[in-house]
Amino acid sequence: MTGQIANPSIRLKAPTPTARPTEGAANRERDVKIDVEHLSFFYGAKRALEDISVKIHPNVVTAFIGPSGCGKSTFLRTLNRMNDIIPGARVEGTARIDGNDIYAPGVDVVGLRRRVGMVFQKSNPFPKSIFENVAYGLRINGMAGSKAELAGRVEESLRQAALWDEVKDRLQESALAMSGGQQQRLCIARALAVRPDILLMDEPASALDPIATQRIEELVYDLKKAYTIVIVTHNMQQAARVSDHTAFFWLGRLIEYDRTDKIFTAPAEKLTEDYVTGRFG
């Protein structure tokens, strides 16, 4: 296998022609952060994901696109084992992060979830103050030694999520009194506070106005220097703007995975082309 991304990890399909990664990206792309092989996922008897194989690279933004119900959220949630809590859910195949099988017996799931942060599709702030929401992860993981350090990390996270200026005078107010878009950014700040390695974002901008959306996109762009980011989006322009790599899902299968520019300009699959040009879905 040459450049990982250039060889889309769909085993059943003919390999697409090799796309040359740019020189700078080449080194980074040789590393693999998340390595998924032949992963299938079942809700009880119902198969939601079918034989997914994909290699996700560090310090790039990977976008998951595809029609509603195709399994984007499900796949994202297999990466931090969030699906474990769904009764009857079952995973087949392997998923490795930094080379370690996250479904191996004896894996520290709690530690995994701290390293693999998640912003949920529906914002879910705790019924606590704005400050306590962001401080929560720091407190439970014992990550802030002093009060000043805690306050500092909270501020830093709120700034990163482009929320600080709006809330700095009302940190003690209930998070539930915020607007939907502010709540979503609060959830982003909450996830950033524990400084995860990987950030999984499930449609983080779906409830945001264009200005807040732009801020989130800028944030994603900044964050990729330090994080590996996977972002689910229904917005094709957004995927094209923020992501380096794009994976197209359809009916629980990964149809095509390649560099974003390639997916949007010269996709190898007819289905992908139809989807990104808006001919269906």
Binding site: I85, R114, F120, P125, K128, I140, A191, V194
Partner: protein
């Protein structure tokens, strides 16, 4: 068209029936309140709260010892029932599918329906007979046993109302399951749980039967937990069945105090509940 008329008639018939049912339900309540208020207010004064009962024949005196006794008894009950009840509720909501849960739930509902005098008999058997001594502890035990299933079931129901997304949010930040339960889920339901506790307290504060042969009664002021202790309800019972007019008047005053306690508890519960509604989501 006649069909239409028929439907309208049927509809107003039902509305009328409902209105009558509401009246039938409310009239006795109004009467009780009216009697307790009008009779109770006459006998109620500051002495009632600060003075001790007087012997027959002397008018005046109060129920200071009984009021303190009721506070001690409900306090003891809460001390026992709040931790046990809340923890059971957490268990029931966390393991909703297990066999043990359905057994516990069934047991709690059964216990809830057991006549309070039976619980008194039980407390008498385990906490009075062996020591040959009526005591505040035995009374507190009886009331506590009554509170546990109420608190457990309300706690369970309120915890199940907390959106699963909150649990996921906590887990996704690296919380263990227990951590998520006690730092996010229980706090989210806390105002409601407190409401449930307050209502359970109000309920047992008004109990007489389980106290008759556990804490019994005491003419004197005591805070000794191993001694018999007076309570407003038992004192009202004693006074009410007595032939003396003074005592009967005191009984009315005691009844008014009890009703007021229940009323205040319900009011507190109401306020707390509206706060939950605020928290849940505007």
């Amino acid at each position: 068209m006649t069909r239409m008329v028929w439907r309208r008639m049927l509809s107003s018939l039902f509305v009328g029936a409902c209105a009558i049912a509401v009246l039938v339900a409310l009239v006795p309540l109004a009467f009780v309140l009216f009697f307790v208020l009008s009779r109770g207010v006459q006998a109620l004064n500051l002495d009632f709260f600060t003075h001790m009962p007087l012997p027959v024949g002397e008018s005046g005196g109060g129920m200071a010892n009984s009021i303190v006794g009721t506070l001690i008894l409900t306090g003891l009950a809460a001390l026992m029932a709040v931790p046990v009840g809340v923890m059971s509720g957490v268990y029931l909501s966390e393991f909703p599918g297990s066999r043990f849960t359905s057994i516990v739930r069934f047991a709690a509902d059964t216990l809830n329906g057991v006549p309070s005098i039976v619980i008194g008999v039980f407390a008498y058997g385990v906490a009075v007979l062996p020591f040959r001594q009526f005591s505040a502890l035995a009374g507190g035990l009886a009331l506590g046993i009554m509170m546990i299933p109420i608190i457990a079931r309300t706690t369970e129901e309120l915890l199940l109302l907390v959106p699963g997304a909150l649990r996921e949010g906590a887990l996704a930040l690296g919380a263990t399951r227990a951590r998520a339960v006690f730092t996010v889920i229980v706090p989210a339901a806390l105002p409601g749980i407190i409401t449930g506790i307050v209502l359970a307290l109000a309920r047992v504060a008004g109990e007489t039967a389980p106290l008759l042969f556990t804490s019994f009664n005491n003419r004197f002021f005591t805070t000794e937990l191993t001694q018999p202790i007076s309570s407003v309800t038992v004192q009202v019972f004693t006074y009410a069945i007595s032939p003396y007019e003074d005592w009967q008047r005191q009984a009315w005053a005691g009844a008014l105090v009890l009703v007021t306690i229940v009323f205040i508890c319900s009011l507190m519960a109401r306020l707390a509940t509206s706060r939950v509604a605020d928290m849940r989501g505007r």
